[in-house]
Symmetry: C2
Subunit: 203 residues, 2 copies
């Protein structure tokens, strides 16, 4: 099993979220989706915000590169959100709940679409409620759980701690079942190939 570590504010995590399942299914690999928070991980490295803000040249290149990646994947046009990075805590808590049930992956993909195709603010609960409604779920109950359920908070905190323990420093990241770490959407194919080799040895 490959683990897909994603942060909702992360642009390149969006690309991986939109393509990982098709790749995994083609390869016969199972993927565990794990939302986590980059904020504490950036802070531990001495960064108070995204490297794309700390290094503006890199930031403006990233948006251009994202445009090209969207075009290459045949996606609708990229919309640069008004604020970046966005506040992904509530979305991450909802996704943590959704991964226990059946709708976590659809929710995640739709939140990324809302953010980077429709320019919505995913830190705003009305955006998340609209995504949940679009999936025919009950936004009021789910958002209430995400805000108050201690087990969800603990699970998300644990995910962030486990990411850090695995040496993860950015998103998206992928870890194979032997702990091998791959960083970035550009390494998704390599991560899948690595997991295939592990599975082949074990079978």
């Amino acid at each position: 099993m490959l683990t897909f570590w994603f942060e909702f504010a992360s642009t390149y995590s969006c690309l991986s979220a939109l393509r990982i399942e098709a790749l995994a299914q083609k390869s016969g690999i199972k993927v565990r989706w794990r939302p986590f928070l980059l904020g504490p991980i950036f802070k531990a490295q001495g960064m108070e915000t995204s490297p794309f803000n700390l290094y503006p040249l890199k930031g403006s290149y990233m948006w251009r590169d994202m445009e090209r990646q969207f075009a290459q994947m045949g996606l609708p046009s990229l919309t640069v959100p008004e604020a970046f990075p966005q506040h992904g805590l509530l979305a991450a808590r909802i996704a943590t709940l959704g991964m226990r049930e059946e709708w976590g992956k659809d929710f995640t993909r739709d939140v990324y679409r809302a953010q980077f195709m429709n320019g919505k603010n995913i830190g705003d609960s009305t955006t998340l409620a609209a995504v949940l409604t679009g999936l025919k779920l009950n936004p009021t109950a789910i958002i209430e759980s995400a805000r108050s359920d201690a087990s969800i908070k603990a699970e998300l905190r644990l995910a962030t701690e486990q990411a850090q323990a695995l040496g993860i420093f950015g998103a998206p990241s992928f870890t194979a079942s032997d702990g091998e770490l791959f960083w970035g959407n550009d390494r998704l194919d390599a991560a899948i190939a690595w997991q295939i080799r592990i599975n082949a040895k074990q079978s």
Copy 2:
């Protein structure tokens, strides 16, 4: 014509240097190799050393990723140099001279091999002399020119200024003839594809 911007201390520039000509020839694309210095460009972004040193988690991941990239390219084992980043000024000046003549690309590739396969210090002129000797060139005369020829110094300074003017913030970078910028060895194929499309429109 695609421009390949490289810095001698840069690990991922090594990967591009070792594969760009085969890719370009297969695609019928001409490549101009331009050595430049990342130091002033990092400084202008507020970084006093490589991001791989500023962010050690990213640094240790990079070496592991380089090992995997070497294996994937069928190269001999990666040797992590004792000091990183190395002082690439003299090598860049020699390469600037070599690009005016016939031996600049061979010199560049052999300096990367010395650094990342044989663990040599490329800031040491004896390493560079050995590379030049291996290419059946006169190391004494070439190193003397590289150290004293004002036109070489000016050309390298201009390359670094032009890189900065193009928005380059890291290495390797590739710029197409319309100014489109691609960053990183992972974007080499995309850069070539972009240049092919430009050439097709013009023909």
